[in-house]
């Protein structure tokens, strides 16, 4: 594929359209290997309290996913209101030496982990004013997706299905509507289960896919990371190629002329 097919987020160019999380791995070595196999360039991390006085020599996540090599995307996972999400982003910016790119996710409900849209909008307003570049997790509502773009988010990330569910794209027509309306990158975030799900998202015309559990909870996470990379590439190429129209009846691939009768 041409090198010109790049993903641009907040002015930075990426070759990979696969974005990966760093959670749920067995250990940091598996995190490192799976992240490398995915060839992702944007890696999400969570912001949490340190253990005081314990495991002082334990390796740090950022030692295996170094900010010098990857674009670190701190998330606000676990935040259920705008105030906590904003505070988490501010801490993340301090932690990462002024890095402004964040993944905003404000959750509404433990069972579904669906986004709390009202709090998400509130947090977006504050974070935009504070100069953050926001990649926002949202539901697959095209109206809200457009609203978040209009408010200044640098990427809009609708869910395909609930976080960690692996159910695949439940509402492709809404995702398509979101893509067609957008002028910022649309990245499916959450819900893919396997490589074909990632390919379907890309065939719809998504700019990228962000996933974590689909890789980390596979039997062989490193191999699945590689499969996802290929699924994303295949789906992207198929989208750019433009698929054939669907037809109800057969159409022979071999010519009719010259048949031996």
């Amino acid at each position: 594929m041409s090198n010109k097919d790049e993903l641009v987020i907040a002015g930075k160019t990426y070759q990979s359209r696969l974005l990966v999380g760093s959670g749920k791995y067995k250990d940091l070595e598996e995190t490192r290997l799976a992240t490398e196999a995915s060839e992702a360039e944007i890696i999400t991390v969570a912001i949490r309290r340190t253990n005081i006085g314990q495991n002082a020599n334990e390796p740090n996540l950022l030692d295996v996913v170094p900010p010098e090599k990857y674009t670190i995307l701190p998330n606000t996972a676990g935040c259920f209101n705008a105030k906590d999400a904003v505070r988490t982003c501010q801490l993340a910016r301090e932690l990462l030496d002024g890095h402004n790119l964040v993944k905003l996710e404000v959750l509404a409900d433990q069972k579904t982990l669906f986004p709390h849209i009202l709090e998400t909008l509130k947090a977006t307003e504050t974070l935009v004013a504070e100069g953050f570049d926001i990649m926002v997790y949202t539901n697959d509502d095209p109206i809200i997706a457009k609203q978040l773009e209009d408010m200044g988010c640098v990427a809009v990330m609708p869910l395909a299905a609930p976080i960690g569910s692996g159910l695949g794209i439940r509402n492709p027509y809404n995702i398509l509507e979101i893509i067609e309306n957008a002028t910022v990158p649309i990245i499916v975030d959450a819900g893919v289960g396997t490589a074909s799900d990632a390919a379907i998202a890309m065939e719809l015309g998504c700019d990228g896919v962000l996933m974590n559990t689909a890789i980390a909870a596979a039997q062989d996470p490193v191999l699945m990371a590689s499969a996802m990379k290929k699924g994303i590439q295949a789906g992207r190429e198929a989208f750019l190629a433009g698929r054939m129209p669907k037809k109800r009846y057969a159409s022979a691939s071999s010519p009719i002329e010259g048949l031996i009768t």
């Binding site: 760093s22 991390v45 912001i47 309290r49 340190t50 005081i52 740090n60 996540l61 993340a92 932690l95």
Partner: protein, 66 residues
């Protein structure tokens, strides 16, 4: 002096700075961010910011997440 660090009470005999606190906690040189009473203390100010009795301190880092 008693302070609350990450929600737990800690007792210190002497007055100290954020830098000294991180040193004592085995976090010197680690990638962490510090908040005192809900206000971020930038890394550049760790050496001169003093910890006071009753401070609520948060020390955070990055961990795996999606």
């Amino acid at each position: 002096m008693q302070v609350l660090i990450n929600g737990e009470s800690h007792q210190f005999d002497n007055d100290m700075t954020i830098s000294a606190l991180l040193q004592q906690s085995g976090l010197a040189g680690k990638r962490v961010a510090v908040e005192v009473n809900e206000t971020i203390v930038p890394k550049s100010q760790h050496a001169e910011t003093r910890v006071s009795e009753g401070d609520k301190i948060e020390i955070i880092h990055a961990i795996g997440g999606g």
